[in-house]
């Protein structure tokens, strides 16, 4: 048995509750892959072959509009899974493209092995359900953001989440922030300037320094 795989699996919070027997089965079917920064891991619409769980690094999950505009659906980090839904659907296809942000190591499981585990190991199914629930809540928040908040409000919420370390935290370009918020770079630039003019943040060389939590929370809730 591959000790690296077993150790990687057992340290993931998602799989912390698995029995030794299930961990053993999982480590026999999982395989390791490492991707360079910017490498495409999955392409939207492709047949689903494997599911993935991040060991180290981070990935960007996104869809592209016909005009080429990118909407980031999630930024995922260690312990989180992706492409876990299609194996449960007939003819399930990869729902979104996934790209490595930095050098990223994942554990991959072929979809037939994944489904077999889900059918036969209740503790594994429970872990996957918890992962589904987390994804569902995240996407619900995203829909609320896109439908009900202004760009300025979405930006305030995004900045608070990043500074508080709610998700994967890293340096961002304004283009990446725009893709995360469902808008374009110019609009993000204007929103940043307006928040700075309101005294809620300060733009520095290579840093966005948040100054006023109450003010930003009020913007995020607006």
């Amino acid at each position: 048995m591959d000790d690296y795989l077993r150790n990687s699996l057992s340290t993931m919070p998602l799989f912390a509750g698995l029995s030794e027997a299930t961990l053993g089965r999982l480590s026999r079917v999982a395989f390791r892959r490492t991707y360079a920064p910017g490498m495409l891991i999955l392409l939207e619409g492709a047949p689903c072959e494997s599911v993935f769980f991040i060991v180290t690094g981070a990935v960007r999950v996104y869809r592209l509009s016909p005009q080429g505009r990118q909407q980031i659906l999630a930024t995922l980090g260690p312990g989180q899974g992706f492409n876990t839904a299609p194996p449960f659907l007939p003819e399930g296809r990869t729902p979104a493209s996934v790209e490595a942000i930095g050098e990223t190591t994942v554990l991959a499981i072929r979809q037939e092995d994944f489904v077999a585990l889900a059918r036969t190991c209740a503790d594994f199914s429970w872990a996957i359900l918890q992962d589904f629930a987390a994804h569902l809540l995240h996407l619900t928040d995203l829909v609320e953001d896109l439908a009900l908040r202004s760009v300025r409000g979405r930006l305030a919420r995004f900045l608070l989440e990043q500074a508080d370390g709610a998700y994967v935290t890293r340096p961002w370009t304004q283009d990446e922030i725009a893709a995360h918020l469902g808008t374009v770079r110019d609009v993000v630039g204007r929103a940043l300037r307006s928040l700075a003019d309101a005294g809620l943040l300060r733009m520095e060389r290579g840093r966005i320094v948040l100054l006023d939590r109450e003010g930003l929370e009020a913007e995020a809730g607006a």
């Binding site: 340096p171 961002w172 370009t173 283009d175 630039g189 060389r205 290579g206 840093r207 320094v209």
Partner: protein, 68 residues
């Protein structure tokens, strides 16, 4: 820690169009033999104009998001 932060230019991706040189409001970037280079880093204000104008995404200006 951010005093020395400069736009990052990926010369493998750069197509040598020179738009970043024209867009820079402080003439901090010049086109050298191997491609655009920030020759006057002290003049760079990190305004991100070079990143915005680059047609191939070869220039990146990243921001950490932090509390004061």
């Amino acid at each position: 820690m951010t005093a020395g932060v400069l736009p990052q230019i990926d010369l493998m991706r750069c197509i040598l169009c020179g738009r970043c040189v024209q867009a820079c409001p402080t003439q901090a970037v010049e086109m050298l033999a191997n491609g655009p280079t920030i020759v006057r880093p002290d003049a760079c204000t990190y305004c991100t104009a070079c990143e915005a104008i680059c047609p191939v995404g070869a220039i990146t200006c990243t921001f950490e998001i932090v509390w004061k």
